[in-house]
Every structure is written in structure tokens, then in C-alpha cells.
Amino acid sequence: MINVLYFARLREQLDTESEELEVHPELKDMSRLTQSLRQRGGAWAEVFAGRETVLMAVNQEVASGDTPIKDGDEIAYFPLVTGG
């Protein structure tokens, strides 16, 4: 299982704070996971359409499309940061 977290605007748009997902062999990296989320359609298709920057983290480190995913990982999706 992997735990997927959504923050800020994304959390509201997807109406989801977190979810647990099974690790399939097809979800071997972040770009595959993002693709599968986009395929859910509706708000998911919209958020992951690539119009707005969506940042990703794996185990609390910034990740990119080719960052691999393994069982037990904590994944996060979030918009550009605006703190400080």
C-alpha cells in the first residue's frame, strides 16, 4: 500500500485529503501514478491536466515523474508553495 496526500487547493478541488492505494507493477513511478489519477476523470482529470503546476513528493522529498514508487511510500501532491 501507498499513502497519497493532497494539500491546499488540490485537497479542496479533489475533495480528498488522503487515500491508500495498492501498489501495482504498472504504478512503478510517479508519472504512472499521476496518469492513473488523471484517468479518474472529473476534478481529477482537471487537476492533473497539466494546466497548473502540481508538485509531487515521495517520502517528504520533492519528486519528479521518474521517481520510483515502492510499497509503504508516502506520496504527496500539492500546488506551488506560498509560505513565508
Binding site: 491546499a8 513528493a57 517528504q60 504527496a76 500539492f78 506551488l80 508553495v81 506560498t82 509560505g83
Partner: protein, 154 residues
């Protein structure tokens, strides 16, 4: 070098943070602090209050990395970062970055570096409450440019 990071809902005490940084270190000749405050308007609209969300765990790691990077770039005696989360009103302090070093040049540069990186790399998000409803604050192009000044060949 003494590093301290705190992410908290409670207000912080700027003077106490500076005191902790100075504490018993006669090698310190300069302390530069950046204090970020909530303004009552943004992008031309009145802001009644603001809510700060963050990614617990990753925030601390991201800040730790930024402080480590500052430490490799400059000769420093200490850095303290405090960032508030939750609801804030205009004039409330949001963030404090305090940097101590023997000489002022390093302290100024490291302090500005830390806040520039924090603004673009630490997972905090602001939501403003305005007379026309609430809105997520957009990332600023100027913050991106500020960060890029510090980029090296890497």
C-alpha cells in the same frame, strides 16, 4: 552551528529568539533578522485574515535542508527559523529568520537566502479571507526570481 526550526500555531517572541541565538557566544558580531508580517491587502484586495496550511514532516525536512545549504555556503554561528501556521490577522508575525555570524556580510546573505528558499521550497500554503470570499494565494513570479539568484552551476 546552532540550528533551530519551529513550525507552530502560537505567536513567537522575536526578542527571545535573538537572545537564544546570541546566548554566550562572544564570536558573534552580527545578527540579521527577517520578520514577515501579515498585510491587510494583497493584489489590490483587502485581506481580513489568512489561514496557513503546511505538510507536517516535510516542512521540517525542507527547512532543515535549506539551513544545511546556508551553512555550507557561509560561515555562520547560528540560524533560527520560526514559521506560524493556522489563522493569522493583519499585522500578525508569520515568519522569523534570524542568522548570526562573525561579520555582517555573511549574516545578510544567509538570511535572505533562507527566506528566499523558504518561500519557494517549504510546503506552506496561504489562503486569504477577503470581502469577496476566500482564495488560495498564487505563487509569485518575483519569489521565483529571488530564489534563482542563488542558483549555482548545479
Amino acid at each position: 552551528m546552532i540550528k533551530a526550526i519551529s513550525v507552530q500555531t502560537e505567536p513567537f517572541d522575536t526578542a527571545a529568539e535573538i537572545e537564544k541565538l546570541r546566548a554566550d557566544n562572544p564570536a558573534i558580531g552580527a545578527i540579521v533578522t527577517f520578520l514577515g508580517l501579515t498585510r491587510d491587502s494583497n493584489a489590490g484586495q483587502r485581506v481580513a485574515s489568512m489561514t496557513l496550511e503546511h505538510y507536517p514532516g516535510m516542512t521540517e525536512k525542507a527547512l532543515e535542508k535549506i539551513l544545511d545549504e546556508a551553512q555550507t555556503r557561509w560561515e555562520l554561528q547560528g540560524i533560527r527559523v520560526v514559521h506560524r501556521i493556522g489563522e493569522l490577522k493583519p499585522q500578525d508575525p508569520i515568519v522569523l529568520v534570524a542568522v548570526a555570524s562573525a561579520h555582517r556580510g555573511e549574516a545578510f546573505q544567509a538570511c535572505e537566502f533562507v527566506i528566499d528558499y523558504l518561500k519557494t521550497r517549504a510546503p506552506f500554503w496561504k489562503k486569504e479571507q477577503t470581502p469577496e470570499g476566500s482564495r488560495w494565494v498564487d505563487a509569485r513570479q518575483s519569489d521565483n526570481q529571488a530564489e534563482q539568484r542563488w542558483r549555482r552551476g548545479d
